[in-house]
């Protein structure tokens, strides 16, 4: 436990002086802001058109504008994460290996599991700090909506984004442990995430075939859709928790193999 905290502290203090962390967080917030604005503008237009149609035909329309905005926003946030998370994780192990500080960690009286968890929790913390400012968007949305949208959707949306990000961080840290170059690690992570994204398009094309069904289950983005609609389905929870555990387990094995080969 003390070992986890020691590794965690060290990671956090490095994040604070790392330009990459600032760039990643800045890029995330900028993109999230731009997309939020775009979604709002689109919703606005849609609402106006709907209002005009209602005037013409007199049919009362039932559209949940704030709900649509939130769904769009959380969906887009998930996509942005695919691009930002590789920046956050690429150095996690690769940079330690290149500098030889992996040797310091692995000859300190901390277990490999403590190293893996300390690093993972530090990345999760940075991720939460990164998500925090998006609360501003939520405040704007809640203040502009009448009646207020249900809290449930926002909370489950954030839960979905968090689980997606946590899974991507676990996978990204594992990929970082495979190489000594953080650039290589970053490219690999990005490619893997891109594959996961493309998988989503394959599903749309062939949802009926067996391959489509498999792809649908594997797709990391697809499992977030329910969350953005305010539905917390246990199968999605199981999926993300499994992804996180798998990533951490593989990282642990990777550290072990560093010892058996050499770092």
């Amino acid at each position: 436990m003390k070992g986890i905290y020691a590794v965690f502290r060290k990671e956090i203090s490095l994040y604070f002086v790392s330009p990459i962390a600032y760039v990643a967080v800045g890029a995330f917030l900028l993109l999230a802001g731009i997309f939020f604005q775009g979604i709002l503008a689109e919703a606005n237009e849609y609402a106006m058109r709907a209002a005009m149609q209602a005037m013409q035909y007199g049919t009362p329309l039932e559209i949940d504008i704030p709900g649509e905005v939130m769904r769009g926003f959380f969906g887009v946030t998930g996509t942005i994460l695919l691009f930002v998370v590789p920046m956050l994780t690429m150095g996690a192990y690769a940079e330690e290996r290149r500098r030889g500080t992996m040797e310091l960690l692995m000859t300190s009286p901390v277990t490999d599991l403590e190293i893996v968890l300390g690093k993972y929790f530090a990345a999760i913390s940075l991720f939460l700090i990164m998500l925090l400012p998006t609360a501003i968007q939520m405040v704007i949305l809640f203040r502009a909506s009448d009646p207020m949208p249900p809290w449930r959707i926002m909370l489950s949306g954030y839960l979905g984004v968090f689980l997606l990000g946590a899974s991507l961080l676990a996978i990204g840290q594992f990929l970082s442990s495979l190489t000594e170059s953080q650039i290589v690690a970053g490219i690999w992570t990005f490619l893997v995430f891109l594959m996961l994204w493309i998988l989503d398009f394959i599903i749309r094309g062939s949802s009926s075939s067996v391959a489509g069904a498999v792809a649908q289950y594997v797709s990391i983005l697809r499992h977030m859709n329910d969350f953005t609609r305010g539905v917390v389905d246990s199968s999605n929870l199981v999926y993300y928790v499994s992804m996180i555990l798998l990533g951490l387990f593989l990282t642990l094995r990777s550290l072990d193999s560093m010892r058996w080969r050499r770092a």
């Binding site: 590794v7 500098r99 030889g100 040797e103 310091l104 300190s108």
Partner: protein, 328 residues
């Protein structure tokens, strides 16, 4: 304090460390001497719990390095060949982080960080970022890192490499000052380093120990090997050789002609513990040979080392590949 028995490390087909055994007593400084790629780094990495051995055992402070790795790691300070530093951190921030990793209790942490900076003489740079420091200072930060948890055993891989002569002297002083309370292993490929800092030397070559003996630098080397240069009188060199060989305690005499001035050089090996220097001088002069030089040889540490390093030349290629596998 450190007991190594039959330690072997195999990397695929390459045997980086081959059945080595040695021990280091408490308070001793052991020098690990050998050409690059001899297996020094690999052995040190096994001792620090970084790498597991293929076979054999190693114990530090009574704990097996594999079975009780965490106990061993708590007691070892380790400076790898490249100091394991985070360049973006300040010296103090870095040492504080290392102290946490090494599980220094929080009430002692500040004092230990200060003490380590004091010992490595970097207190004046405590607030500077490590990336702004010179190579020598970075090395000292690495040294402070190895001392911060006040370990019983300190393992230093090439601690003076890349330093300027003044810094080398400082680091040697520091290491000598640590002995007594700490047990130290340091590796080097520089012979004088061993004779200046270590109590005992293990020469390692191609994964095997080729010598393990005490070093007594500066002291009288004793008369175990005596080098004599004479100009033979009547009877010539053979007579002189026979004369010395007759002496009690002389084990072997090797003669070779010195360059062209009629002198001969003899290398006389005597039984350990017998100092025959004055006897030899008296015999040689008494029988009409002219004595030009007589000195005790520093028990052939140099010779062994030279032998080892020159042997490497013919089979340099395989040794080289073994080396990169072991040291990097």
């Amino acid at each position: 304090m450190i007991e190594v028995e039959g330690l072997t490390k195999q990397y695929g087909a390459v045997r980086a460390v081959d059945e080595i055994s040695f021990r280091v007593d408490k308070g001793e400084i052991l020098g690990f001497l050998g050409p690059n790629g001899a297996g020094k780094t690999t052995t040190m990495r096994i001792l620090t719990g970084f790498l597991p051995a293929t076979s054999g055992t190693a114990r530090v402070a009574g704990f097996d390095v594999f079975e009780k790795s965490l106990e061993v790691r708590r007691r070892i300070g380790y400076l790898p060949e490249n100091p394991p530093i985070y360049p973006e951190l300040s010296v103090q921030g870095y040492l504080d982080a290392v102290a946490r990793l090494k599980q220094v209790p929080s009430d002692r942490r500040k004092a230990r960080v200060d003490a380590a900076m004091e010992m490595a003489r970097i207190s004046d740079k405590r607030d500077e970022l490590i990336k702004h420091l010179s190579r020598g200072y970075k090395q000292r930060v690495g040294l402070a890192q190895a001392l911060v948890h006040d370990p019983e055993v300190i393992i230093l891989d090439e601690p003076t490499v890349g330093l300027d002569p003044k810094q080398i002297i400082e680091v040697r002083h520091l290491i000598k000052g640590l002995a007594g309370n700490h047990t130290i292993i340091l590796s080097t490929h520089i012979l004088p380093e061993v004779s200046m800092t270590c109590d005992r030397v293990v020469i390692i070559h191609q994964g095997r120990i080729v010598a393990n003996r005490p070093v007594n630098a500066g002291q009288d080397p004793g008369g175990e090997i005596v080098i004599v240069e004479i100009k033979p009188g009547s009877g010539g060199a053979p007579a002189a050789k026979a004369l010395v060989e007759r002496l009690a305690g002389v084990k072997r005499v090797e003669m070779q002609a010195a360059d062209g001035n009629g002198r001969v050089q003899a290398r006389i090996q005597c039984e350990p513990g017998r100092d025959l220097r004055s006897r030899i001088a008296a015999e040689v002069v008494g029988h009409g040979h002219e004595l030009f030089e007589l000195r005790a040889s520093r028990v052939s540490l140099e010779e062994i080392f030279l032998q080892v390093t020159t042997q490497e030349a013919p089979d340099a290629a395989p040794a080289e590949t073994a080396g990169t596998g072991a040291a990097t």
